[in-house]
């Protein structure tokens, strides 16, 4: 059990959650809850792997993954924005559909291990020499991790300080008012559901081409899309908090795996070492923590009166009373 190793691996796996969570933040900020993240990530992971295998180019795989997931997100956009159906049930449907498509098109990909190119890994010269922090943040990480570092402040700025971000928030908070100001509500919502899809696809591709390379059917994402949806609430729709939550979660997942290694922990005999079956309880921990994070998130939001985007989950119908 090496603490630096656990935290470094937390950063790597947390990057996946970061992209997916921020994608969902974009979508929810515009007022559209998209529960299809898990399915869109699977689409991303599958199409990235399949494209990379076919073209021998991981970057092309990444691009196709984003477009494929973005495209499939538009089904949800059409059903909820234009057809004004319930967002929860449509998101669930998208999940089934996307999972089904990726299982069908991903048939036979599992056997391709070791011949599919991966995204490169780098150590940042200089920065990786910093004691502790260098090893955690800048040593032998996937290039997607470094993109992630830039991505966090960039998206925060985009949402909170830029004009498009202002429009985005207006549409999610009070679409009728946004409409009277000439902001195109429907267009904005379609756009940010698409952005959410792009980022979920990016997250999926990050898994299959870099963090834990390969295609393992539904196990490729193993519920991370759902954890991302949960993290949005913990993150209170803020990319910084999403990053914090994502990295914490990543570290937790690694810690849980590593806990079974040593015979002694802090001078006590390690029960998880002596009875391997206790490991199943360790595997529950990330999921239990998601629920705990949700409790913390909703209590804190209550106290600080930070709310959900006011129009989240509601269809906007031009000319009708209400939000």
């Amino acid at each position: 059990m090496d603490l630096i190793l656990i935290l470094a691996s937390g950063i790597a796996t947390g990057t996946v959650l970061l992209y997916a969570t921020v994608g969902e933040i974009f979508s929810e900020r515009s007022g559209i809850l998209n529960l299809g993240v898990e399915g869109m990530m699977l689409i991303g992971a599958m199409s990235a792997y399949k494209t990379a295998a076919a073209t021998n180019n991981a970057w092309l795989g990444l691009l196709v993954a984003m477009l494929a997931a973005g495209l499939i997100s538009q089904i949800h956009a059409f059903i909820t924005i234009t057809l004004q159906a319930d967002q929860v049930i449509s998101g669930l449907a998208l999940n089934f559909l996307a999972t089904g498509i990726s299982l069908v098109l991903g048939e036979g990909l599992t056997s391709l291990r070791d011949v599919v190119p991966q995204l490169p890994k780098y150590s940042i010269p200089g920065l990786s020499q910093i004691p502790w922090l260098g090893g955690i943040f800048f040593d032998n990480h996937s290039i997607m991790v470094y993109f992630g570092y830039l991505f966090i402040p960039l998206t925060w700025y985009l949402i909170n300080r830029s004009r498009p971000g202002l429009h985005l928030r207006a549409v999610g908070e009070y679409p009728a008012a946004a409409d009277t100001l000439g902001i195109r509500v429907y267009f904005t919502r379609y756009l940010y559901v698409f952005v959410g899809g792009l980022l979920a696809g990016l997250a999926g591709a990050t898994i299959s081409l870099s963090i834990s390379p390969g295609w393992f059917g539904g196990l490729t994402t193993a519920g991370q899309g759902w954890i991302a949806v949960g993290l949005v609430i913990f993150a209170q729709w803020n990319p910084y908090r999403a990053a914090f939550g994502g990295f914490t979660f990543g570290a937790l997942r690694r810690l849980v795996l590593d806990l079974q290694g040593p015979a002694m922990i802090f001078g006590l005999s390690n029960p998880f070492y002596y009875n391997i079956h206790y490991g199943f309880f360790l595997k529950m921990i990330p999921y239990i923590f998601t629920v705990v994070f949700l409790v913390i998130g909703s209590r804190e939001a209550n106290r600080k009166r930070i709310g959900t985007p006011a129009a989240l989950g509601l269809p906007y119908i031009r000319g009708q009373r209400g939000l």
Binding site: S90, G108, T290
Partner: protein, 377 residues
């Protein structure tokens, strides 16, 4: 509702009709809802065929295989019913929760805990080995319902007390349930290191149709089990509760208009917990009947995603408990015969397509399309 008029395409030739989509004012005709659902299923199957073809397989072969091996003979019809039984119960579990707009997508986990509870009766054991069959039927069902209800209670309580989003919490509970069962399958109840418990003794099995073969030879080899009685009784009770009882009215009122319900003095929090308990108990009963009726031991792969399919079934049945029975048979056929179809994701894909088109078709239930002749300027 906004009027969405289709733009005229070519400037010279003018489309002689005007297509207007507007909010339905009057009640839609009775036949509309089943017709829409049916067409959603048909369109989903057509699109599914297209995707199978793109994936390089033969759609006709896949579909005819599914039809033949699900409804082709009495034997496979009986097997279809075996798959439909857990689907009916989880479909009912989802229906009551969804009626209150409580998104319990944890039926899968509640199913696993129900299976655990029923196994506990035999393996702990709660009942002695030689206890009569009727005791086993009642006690395994009871334990299954209790543990399923417990698994539903937790997210229900968290939602009522801390306002925790039940979609995420019920889903997380699914993953936790799988690990919970694994602990017992691999560890405590493992039979000589295999990843399964010992086979239950015969008197703990639910009776099957084939048990009647001595008196009626026709039933020989038919696997449909007593769980069907559970499912149908549950469907009738739930239908009565939802459409005739005061509590059912409260549930529907909360679902349609929580504010009005609150003004009427209905406790929303209490109903959240209650409905989650009932929903969990139904899904738990599904798990218990699957374990005692089909699998006869506790093991890992006991569900091809029954809990998730239940969501689609509830929606296809428009949350009507009696319609859930029919919808479950359709999906039972799909799951039974879809197992051997390659590529293996096809049943999931078709389920997803059906759901997408169902939801889209609701649009035509809420709105009507009017085509009128354009008046020249």
């Amino acid at each position: 509702m906004a009027d969405i008029s289709v733009k005229e395409s070519a400037p010279k030739w003018k489309f002689p009709f005007k297509i207007k989509i507007e909010n339905r004012v009057d009640n839609p005709p009775k036949w509309l809802s089943p017709v829409l659902s049916l067409s959603a299923v048909v369109i989903a199957l057509l699109i599914g065929a297209l995707v199978i073809w793109i994936a390089g397989a033969d759609p006709w072969a896949a579909y005819s295989h599914i039809a033949k091996y699900s409804l082709g003979s009495w034997g496979v019809i009986s097997d279809t019913m075996v798959k439909a039984i857990p689907l009916m119960l989880v479909g009912l579990a989802c229906s009551i929760a969804f009626r209150m707009k409580l998104w319990n997508i944890g039926a899968e986990g509640q199913f696993f805990l129900g299976a655990f509870g029923a196994s506990m009766v035999v393996l702990l054991p709660v009942l002695p080995m030689e206890a009569p069959k009727w005791q086993f039927i009642l006690v395994t069902a009871g334990f299954g319902m209790f543990f399923g209800a417990l698994w539903g209670f937790i997210p229900g309580f968290l939602k009522a007390r801390y306002n925790v989003n039940e979609i995420i919490s019920t889903l997380m509970m699914n993953y936790i349930a799988i690990e919970w069962n694994n602990y017992f399958i691999y560890g405590v109840w493992s039979e000589s290191g295999f990843q399964m418990s010992r086979m239950f003794q015969r008197n703990a099995w639910l009776p099957r149709l084939s048990d009647l073969a001595k008196s009626w030879p026709f039933f020989g080899g038919l696997t449909t089990h007593f769980g069907l009685v559970f499912a149908i009784v549950a469907a009738v009770i739930l239908w009565w509760v939802l459409s005739k009882s005061r509590w059912g009215y409260e549930i529907k009122l909360i679902g349609d208009n929580p504010r009005a319900a609150e003004y009427a003095g209905i406790s929303i929090k209490k109903n959240i917990v209650l409905v989650m308990i009932v929903s969990g108990a139904l899904a738990g009963l599904a798990g218990a009947s699957e374990i005692t009726g089909v699998v006869h031991r506790l093991q890992g792969a006991i569900s091809p995603g029954y809990g998730y399919t239940g969501i689609i079934i509830a929606w296809l049945a428009k949350l009507n408990p009696l319609a859930v029975i029919l919808a479950s048979i359709l999906f039972g056929a799909l799951i039974l015969a879809g197992r051997e179809v390659q590529p293996s994701g096809i049943p999931t894909l078709i389920q997803g397509l059906i759901m997408v088109f169902l939801i889209a078709s609701d649009f035509f239930y809420r709105n009507q399309v009017r085509i009128t002749r354009k008046v020249e300027d």
